[in-house]
Symmetry: D2
Subunit: 145 residues, 4 copies
């Protein structure tokens, strides 16, 4: 892991601290969050997004179907990243760095709306996903090698 | 595969076991696993899904555009949960328990393919999402109240 | 309902009958109905779908966002036709006849909800599409060869 | 029908003539196309789009999965038209004229990629849709009143 990558993580941690770490931050977040930047859970994202909406007076718009359609808008933008490329290889070996950066943003947009939608529906997405993996494991048993 | 990774996997498996193998599973979930669920990061899911694909010999199918289209298939199923309902209230007060369970599964399916797609593209989704939140915070400054 | 509209409906019904009620229907389609198929415009489909909804008391469900989400559900099913196939060649040379038949149904489902959505929004889809082609022709001038 | 609407249709016809009516236009289109602007069929659109791609050397990009992803990109843009609006009434009574115009464009974009995708897959979308309506009519018999 190069110098540059380390720096990037630090930037991320700083931005996390700036964004997350206003005074009066509840839930006992604190000095541990450097580690959190790496281990950030779906529930952490969920709380962050709730706060984000509150601070901007966006809660009025965050109904289930509004968020679902916003998420689908982002799925469309994600699809556009891949639309004229023909088959794409794992790891995106031929993509420009800027294209990968853009792809990361579109993947994130889908994720963030998905988390927010789940939260607004009263569904714990992390729990649900763990449960779904377990269900899939029964439905599709591993190959015996 | 290193020591550390083995340990992590154990935590994941324990949390899976706690959530699914307990008797009297549904509805009243034990307080133990709530703590475990918090620990599951996007990166944990990513590793779990990689393993899951390996054990079933599915890696050959997991190309970026295959996974993207599979994810869009799940977005379609998610949309179907909401399609004939008119406007839906936050918290889904009028939904049957079975409908909520089903919704949780569809939300999960989108999440799991999104994580897998990101991984196959070589993108750390958690990092990208943290970065995107920070970018959005600059683009949309909080309302001064 | 005027004279003209009645006549148009008859044409539609005849073309439906020709396509479906003929013996020896599948694969080898009669040359008669090819001409009929040409006659079916988006506006004919629109009228047919309105009638279809009326006869089934479905109009109450056909709000813009309900129809949009239903259409997205069908886009998901369309995506599933292509999801594990890797790159697909023009004309689908390696697809089973039953897969093509299924694909035709999913393409149709998207089309029919798209037409119905347009109609419910008060938009003439055919006119709009003609206008969009003209706009695109200006935006992307043909290559001079 | 007001003066303005008549004019708009004429503009459309002119643009159609301009776009469609280059010399060496095959298929015997001609003076009848004023009527065609109203009765334009899916097959007409299909031919027009094929021509459009040829003239721009775009055929190389028009593979089934490329077109599918492009269509999904447009479905995303269509969803964005509706995303923060809450429930929307039939006929869009509270929408600005410019919003309706934009919506018409997004509906058209989905339609045009859908038609092109069908064509590239070797599927006659109009025939398939007529067949699907007939199948649905059997699956969901009309209510007896």
């Amino acid at each position: 892991m190069g110098e540059g990558e380390g720096e990037e993580k630090m930037v991320m941690e700083i931005s996390l601290r700036e964004t997350y770490m206003g005074e009066g931050e509840e839930e006992g977040e604190g000095e541990g969050e450097e580690k959190m930047a790496i281990e950030i859970s779906l529930r952490d994202f969920s709380k962050k997004l709730e706060e984000f909406a509150k601070e901007r007076d966006w809660e009025q718009y965050h109904t289930p179907r509004n968020l679902l359609l916003a998420m689908i808008g982002e799925v469309g933008e994600l699809s556009e990243c891949f639309q004229w490329k023909g088959e794409v290889e794992k790891g995106l070996p031929n993509w420009e760095e800027s294209e990968k950066e853009h792809l990361g943003e579109e993947l994130s947009d889908v994720l963030l709306y998905l988390i927010r939608l789940s939260d607004i529906c009263g569904i714990d997405l992390g729990d649900a996903a763990v449960r779904k993996i377990a269900k899939n494991a029964i439905k599709y048993p591993p190959k015996i090698s």
